[in-house]
Amino acid sequence: MAEKASPSSNSISLKTVDGKIFKVSPAIANQMLTIQPLIKDSDSSTIISLPDVAAFHLTKIIEYLEGKPAAAPSAVDAFEAQFVKDLSPEELKGLLIAVGYLKVNGLVDLMANTVAKLIENKSVEYVRKFFGVVNDFTPAEEAKCRQEHAWAFDGVDED
């Protein structure tokens, strides 16, 4: 899984933070906007290091870019639904960071949408727990914040 057979001689090598090397075609690499400027100057011997992307995340990103149907919105929808179906919340968050860092075409929106659906209409406590965020407001500050727009805090879904 770490090494993919290269479809052409001028494939791009990407090295993840856990030391695995992936070879991808320029067409795939070009959809990662962060590394796009590096590709022009690369040859087959160059290895682009991605210090913030783990092998699991890059595998998923390549799976997405290679598997995404070219046409037919309904086919794309089905493919994207399948793509995010089995991801755990932890995997989703990690993948979102990797995708945001690489600025992958189309995938940023998909991941953001998926995460948004998980926190939509949820309580503040749930959102904090979901993202592992520590509340740094004083009790008075938080009470004020809630009181200002109390209607928005009513009727949220059960956690």
Partner: protein, 324 residues
């Protein structure tokens, strides 16, 4: 692209619940991500029945200069983003995140873009860094909220003794009362656009009109008008220090709509109503927005309805007037 209008037939106030059901049934016609907070002008005139409800899609319109703060509050540093990403990975691995910033501002905003206004307000309470990001996103209008159904702003305070308008949530089918007034009673709301309320300061304006005598051929009435964001409480003046519009005395802005980069203003006086169209022009040095009056058109002939929104006029007037 031209704006999309969804029109609904006139309804009496007694049957406004039926109207809400009509709107509720229309959920599928609102494309995801296209609608912003929409505050409809229901019951601005408590003694009259509702005339018409218009739901329009503001995102098809061109950029509106006046609804945006003059200075960009959205500064991003690449280094800062990188740091956030790196620390984010570490925090994910270690399973803790004291500051809540393992997502860069960009990523957080991309999530916010899929949430509705109430989610925004709750996210502001998560931690101080989220609150900052949220504030920037709302102020810069950089990040659009999505919306399942419009939030209706009701000004007639049904059966409650409240000083402020309330909201009716179509998705939750209940009234929501803000804990503090959305705007003081001395202010008047004359419309909404793209999540902003269009306001005027009626006390100040009356004081001003009382103070001047008959010699007020040209007064800068427009300086009493401003935009108010009910979520962030931000205000943006309709015109800055240099008023861009000279409005005739004894005439008041009845309604404002911005469409295709042009400002349509309905002017009311005791007997006639007219519509004026202004064209925005931004100076190259951004010294301030200016507007040029394009046309004044008296529209008393089709003023059978007691309250009528500019959107009606926009569509009607486009067939009457050629705008160049």
């Amino acid at each position: 692209m031209s704006p999309t209008y969804h029109r609904y037939p006139p309804l009496s106030r007694e049957s406004y619940r039926d109207l809400l059901k009509v709107l509720e049934g229309q959920q599928v016609v609102f494309p995801q991500r296209l609608l912003d907070i929409i505050l409809l002008e229901l019951g601005l005139y408590p003694n009259e029945d509702l005339d018409e409800v218009i739901v329009y899609d503001p995102h098809c319109m061109t950029r509106r200069h006046h609804a945006e703060p003059s200075s960009s509050l959205h500064h991003k540093s690449t280094n800062c983003e990188m740091r956030n990403v790196v620390s984010g990975i570490k925090q994910l691995v270690n399973g803790e995140n004291k500051k809540g910033d393992y997502f860069s501002e960009d990523i957080l905003e991309s999530i916010l873009g899929w949430l509705c206004p109430a989610d925004y307000l709750r996210c502001r309470a998560v931690c101080s860094w989220w609150r900052t990001v949220m504030g920037n996103a709302i102020r810069s209008k950089h990040c659009k909220t999505t919306l399942q159904l419009p939030l209706l702003m009701l000004n007639f305070r049904p059966a409650y003794d409240k000083d402020s308008p309330c909201f009716y949530s179509l998705s939750k089918q209940k009234l929501q009362f803000p804990n503090k007034p959305i705007y003081p009673v001395t202010q008047n709301c004359i419309g909404s656009i793209d999540g902003w309320l269009i306001m005027y300061d009626k006390d100040s304006m009356n004081d001003f009109l009382d103070a001047v005598d008959d010699n007020y051929d040209t007064i800068y009435l427009a300086s009493f008008y401003y935009f108010l964001n009910p979520v962030s409480d931000d205000t943006v003046p309709l015109c800055d220090d240099k008023p861009w519009a000279l409005l005739d005395a004894e005439k008041f802005i009845h309604d404002i709509e911005i469409h295709d980069g042009k400002l349509y203003v309905v002017i009311s006086s005791s007997s006639i109503e007219s519509i004026m169209v202004y064209d925005f022009q931004l100076d190259e040095d951004y010294s301030g927005p200016k507007a040029q009056k394009l046309v004044v058109h008296e529209v008393q002939s089709f003023l059978n309805l007691p309250t009528v929104s500019t959107v009606n006029f926009v569509t009607t007037v486009k067939s009457l007037i050629k705008l160049d």
